[in-house]
């Protein structure tokens, strides 16, 4: 099985620019990418459609983490997944780091909230993406009760095409 995450250059640029904005108190910003999915021969393509930033007021004050979002942000993301029948990918950025990876805190939090999306949109895979200024890396869940899988290729579709391979 091969899993690819494809996103256009312009959408990725929009996301990076939004995540770079300073928040009144949170150290970093997060958002959600909506995506369609296609499959063939046991392989999967996650195809990014749109970006939903988390509103300023939906962050919680928590100095122990870079950003903590509240239940209202999660509720809006869940609502989007249900009404639009889309895959949801949590996204944040590690900025100038060249090859981004999830931190221990990222992994712990993902394991808590990503499976919730299968309660209301079980027909779609869901996951999380971490960006740097020049790269992308992600995890995907194919079911709420299963383990995560590393996305094999993240592809920025533009001129030029950029491909980050992890298998």
């Amino acid at each position: 099985m091969s899993i690819q995450f494809k996103i256009t250059y312009h959408l990725l640029k929009t996301i990076r620019e939004d995540l770079e904005r300073r928040h009144p108190f949170a150290f970093e910003r997060v958002g959600f990418i909506t995506a369609g999915v296609s499959a063939a021969d046991g392989n999967l393509w996650v195809l990014a459609r749109d970006y939903r930033p988390v509103n300023d007021g939906d962050y919680l004050r928590d100095k122990s983490v870079g950003a903590m979002i509240g239940p209202e942000a999660i509720r809006k993301a869940l609502q989007c997944a249900m009404s639009e029948r889309v895959s949801m990918f949590h996204v944040h950025s590690h900025g100038p780091c060249r090859t981004p990876r999830f931190s221990g805190i990222d992994l712990r939090e993902q394991a808590k909230f990503v499976p919730n999306f299968f309660q209301i949109a079980p027909q779609c895979p869901h996951g999380a993406l971490v960006l740097s200024d020049t790269s992308a890396y992600g995890h995907i869940w194919l079911a709420g009760d299963k383990s995560l899988t590393v996305i094999d290729r993240c592809v920025e579709v533009g001129a030029p095409i950029k491909i980050w391979r992890y298998s």
Binding site: V37, S38, D41, G42, W45, P122, V157, W164
Partner: protein, 299 residues
């Protein structure tokens, strides 16, 4: 000296990038056969080859790689194309589909770029729609010969790069309702248009140049939308006026919410074998093919 030394200016990673790339070529006649040959010379490693037809006598004026012996044996065009590739690439990844591209969608999804070398406007529009739905860059080439009367003919053609979000074949009015209706009135037959070898070569070479610009670091900032006109009488390739006018236009014919398969259900998805992992900390290595940079490892 190695085989690719003389194209090393394409970038330090260009050889591995091209080897790792998979290009889908739909239509393996006069245009597509040129494209296949050149991509194989460049060292592209993966090909999805789609054409339902076998070579006929009338193809031999332009089908690169086809021989009179192939005509005798009614060799499929995908077989001729694959033979070309295997003569130039040691262990290529070739997926020949001697059928309609509609029956090759699984293989075409795996392509980094699709190139359409089709006569029919219906087929071109549908293939572009498929490419948009899967966020795959699409390059369209086509040529025509116009009878100007008084034994005068004009050879023309075009090369269009259609990237997701940027102008499409409908935006630039290459595909129009009138053209589709006209074709439908002929029951989908695009007609037996006049074709000759050298204009196809020019169009195919230009398309291959766009592929290399998209994949390798030799060209710093390639255009996101390309529409080039070929004038075979003057032997020129020039930007169509729409290339400048439309370069900042956003396509309305293929909205982002149409991306993906609307009927996809992960609960019915049967993955091929791969072990899901649980991670305490995440430190997998990443091989990176980011244009302009060397392959990197996780730090």
């Amino acid at each position: 000296m190695t085989r690719f030394d003389r194209q090393s200016f394409l970038g330090v990673d260009s050889e591995s990038i091209l080897t790792a790339s998979t290009i889908g070529i739909v239509g393996l006649g006069g245009g597509g056969s040129h494209v296949v040959q050149q991509l194989a010379h460049l060292g592209v490693g993966g090909f999805v080859l789609v054409d339902p037809d076998h070579i006929t006598d009338t193809n031999t004026n332009r089908l690169i790689g086809g021989t009179l012996a192939d005509v005798e044996t009614e060799t499929k065009k995908v077989v001729i194309a694959e033979r070309q590739i295997r003569g130039l690439i040691e262990s290529p990844r070739v997926f020949p589909v001697p059928d309609s591209w509609h029956l090759a969608t699984g293989a075409l999804k795996q392509c980094d770029i699709l190139i359409g070398c089709l006569d029919s406007f219906v087929e071109r529009e549908q293939l572009e729609r498929f490419a948009r739905r899967h966020l795959t860059p699409y390059i369209d080439i086509g040529m025509d010969v116009h009878n100007l009367g008084a034994k005068q003919f004009l050879i023309s053609g075009q090369i269009i790069l259609s990237l997701p979000g940027k102008p499409c074949l409908r935006c630039v009015e290459l595909v129009t309702d009138d053209r589709l209706s006209e074709e439908a009135n002929r029951y989908g037959d695009a007609g037996s248009r006049p074709q000759v070898v050298w204009p196809n070569g020019v169009l195919a070479s230009t398309a291959v140049g766009l592929v290399v610009q998209l994949l390798t670091p030799w060209f710093e900032k390639p255009a996101e939308f390309v529409y080039l006109d070929y004038d075979g009488n003057r032997s020129t390739v020039t930007p169509n006026i729409r290339m400048e006018l439309f370069k900042k236009k956003t396509c309305n014919h293929h909205p982002p919410n149409e991306v993906g398969d609307p009927l996809f259900d992960v609960r019915k998805f049967k993955p091929t074998t791969k072990t899901a992992i649980k991670t305490e900390g995440d430190n997998r290595d990443g091989k990176i093919h980011d244009k302009g940079r060397a392959a990197q490892r996780n730090s």
